[in-house]
Symmetry: C2
Subunit: 458 residues, 2 copies
């Protein structure tokens, strides 16, 4: 938090506690809703929150409400009268209402729907039907549309009349019969055109569109690729049903990146900010993978136990054990590098399963280079450092470095192939990330290490 | 690639090869610059690329140019005549020109600057001075500004006259003497106001601003927090020097997420798309961490060697070795979960070093819950499964589970503390991610495992 914001928050607290409501109002009118929401959540207790909310200038209330987290929203809604609730809901865009509804318990949802306009209620119910990951779930039906024959002048009149309630006014949509989308026109086009120009002549007739059921991550990537401020959402018949705006796309990109990072760290996705997660919800998100990976490590124990007699029979058995952790860590790191790279490239749409041969070929060559470098340094390290404290012979050093070489190449191939296969099977590539690959590569490299050692040393 | 796009590309190829340039032009005018750039890069060889580029409708040329990658840009520039180069540069926004210049070799940069307008050249040089990670490096000086006393009608005239060359026309800036920023007004405000209203009365007088030297990741997070389409950039005196638009913020967020994922996978940041990276550049990005982590694993070898005699003296020495991989993997996973969580929370600005006590306390409680669950399941697994293939006794099972418990708690604390400490030391938290933490936690858990085993079993 900046000092400036800290001072502002102190002024707010002072006005609020000393009931200087007129001063409070003046301060609030100059603030961003997101900053007011932080003040409300972090500086006030539950009782004060509802009191403070009632003091908000009417035009700010629903904007601040949207910016609070779902726990606060639930508490506020429970404290609202029906009239207050209706005022807040009527002022929100429908996609925001839907986002809030999705986080609320059934009784709160009922109250929200009961207090919506019949027309809004119908649209909310339609939006709620779309699958969680689809364009439909993040779109809003509040857009401005023109008919093709309208003049620019009349189009501006329409914006002036209806624009205040639309999520964006800068991109407008041209529709024909049955709301069929026939073009897109921006306010910039309109401002640079003549007042008497006809919309049809200045619109772009083959706009980028998304379909209601398109994956919302794909939609967000389209924003990044084409750089638009809003994209039209059409149904299968090409009729315009809503728009997605760039702010929603930004949220999707950030959420997806967070989700990928969580999966790569062996955590189940968890949308809440860290400080608002309960200890139990942290446990719930982390325990499944931790248990699964612990149990699957049974294989490594089995392998080591299986080779135990043969290894113990060797004079250098104990020396060989000492390098197991190093081999396994390096294998895990090498595999994690490849899987991390491919998972991110898949998420950005840079590669797909169709590129599998190109990717394997590139990873194979890179892995040879990496394996040679690491094995050579490892051999040198074994002869220079490790020889000082344990009985490494040239033969053992060669075996360890040789196995390290094979392990790295293998780890890289497994690391790039598994995310691609997951994608092909319509699974999330991030699920087969580093921790999962480590377990597989550990087992494989142990088998190679033990069998090669026994073969060459006994 | 969608089928629709595939068909479009085939049509383009057909027209291009058969020299049907009028048809080609019609197709191109309806396409997105980003899609044309993909066609140019993926379907044409070097010689065809420049020929194709010369056929582009003039209004598309620089938009397509910006969308190609830096290797293609370099090749094109080298093939351009000075006149062609000047035409492309004059049509670009200055922030895009600066982005391109940053990727080019010195002789190409010279040519670009030589072919820019003197006024542009001066501004480009100023933009190039800003540090790589600063707001200044992603801003553009091409914005629309009004004086406070202008009427809405006259402001619209100014947009119509100068808007075509500005990066956005939807957010305009009100400046006073010496370009001091005094307010922000949107085209929406202007459209909903009366034509004779004075800008000063409808502008927002305390806009969100960023400073030229502010970290560009912070700037991008402000876009996400406040939802604006553009933010004004001011110098230390509060004078307006440029704007950042939301499309640049989206790029920054995506780049930063990619960078964090790369660092978490022990790779040095690499901005190029995966398929365009050379095998050597992949090697260069991955070898440093792979070597460093391999060498630092010397500690685990040292520890195991140090305890060798004592462990071999135990009847159950070989059984104990068999669980080392499982212990180490679980420790790595537990630490990775915490470091991944905290690194992402830091990147999203959800937490900071000031929250260290809250975080440690939360992670400590979560780690106790997790450690109890995993240790209990591990004990059951050892008695039910592992007993079948190796000589696990109740005592050994208790030792392994007990050490697992301690290891998980320790790994979680190290995993959450290190990224926070890195942040405090102004290092990138993502650098001390999972692979690094695994190495530390491995060594610690091995010491505990060996010493506890020897103490209790000998």
């Amino acid at each position: 938090m900046t000092e400036e914001m800290e001072m502002l928050y102190e002024k707010l607290s002072y006005c609020f506690e000393n009931r200087k409501f007129a001063d409070l109002r003046i301060l609030l009118l100059d603030m961003e809703p997101a900053d007011i929401a932080v003040f409300l959540e972090e500086r006030l207790d539950e009782k004060e929150q509802i009191m403070f909310f009632r003091l908000l200038p009417k035009e700010l209330a629903s904007d601040v409400f949207i910016e609070t987290d779902s726990d606060t929203q639930e508490k506020l809604i429970k404290a609202f009268t029906d009239k207050e609730l209706k005022a807040v809901i009527d002022d929100m865009f429908l996609d925001d209402t839907v986002d809030i509804i999705e986080e609320m318990p059934a009784n709160v949802v009922k109250r929200i729907l009961k207090n919506s306009d019949p027309e809004n209620r119908k649209q909310i119910n339609e939006l709620l039907e779309y699958p969680d990951d689809s364009a439909g779930s993040i779109m809003t039906p509040e857009f401005i549309s023109f008919s093709a024959g309208m003049s620019v002048d009349r189009a501006f009149d329409k914006i002036r009349k209806t624009g205040i309630n639309k999520e964006t006014i800068y991109t407008c949509y041209v529709t024909g019969a049955k709301k069929k989308l026939i073009g897109v026109v921006t306010v910039k086009d309109m401002l640079l055109a003549d007042k008497s120009d006809i919309i049809e002549n200045i619109m772009s007739a083959s706009p980028v569109t998304v379909e209601t059921l398109e994956d919302k991550e794909q939609v967000a990537l389209k924003f990044q690729k084409y750089g638009y401020l809003a994209l039209p959402v059409t149904d299968k018949e090409g009729c315009l049903v809503g728009i997605v705006t760039v702010d929603d796309a930004v949220d999707v990109l950030q959420e997806e990146a967070t989700e990928d990072i969580q999966k790569m760290a062996a955590i189940l996705p968890n949308e809440k900010p860290y400080l608002k997660q309960s200890v139990f919800s942290i446990w719930k998100a982390r325990i499944p993978w931790l248990l699964l990976l612990m149990i699957s490590a049974t294989f490594t124990s089995m392998i080591l136990s299986g080779y135990e007699h043969a290894l113990s029979a060797l004079a250098s058995g104990a020396v060989l054990y000492a390098f197991v952790p190093m081999l396994m860590d390096t294998a895990g790191n090498a595999g994690g590098q490849s899987s991390g790279t491919i998972i991110r490239a898949l998420a950005l749409g840079e590669v797909g399963f169709k590129d599998v041969l190109k990717i394997v070929w590139k990873e194979f060559r890179a892995s040879l280079l990496l394996a040679v470098s690491v094995a050579a340094v490892c051999f040198a390290k074994l002869m220079l450092i490790d020889r000082l404290y344990n009985g490494v012979t040239v033969k053992i050093a060669a075996i360890v470095s040789g196995v390290l070489f094979i392990t790295i190449v293998m780890a890289k191939l497994v690391g790039c192939l598994l995310p691609l296969l997951a994608k092909k099977c319509k699974l999330d590539p991030a699920v087969v990330a580093s921790p999962f690959i480590t377990t597989i590569v550990d087992a494989l490299s142990l088998i190679i290490y033990c069998s090669v050692s026994i073969f060459l040393l006994s």
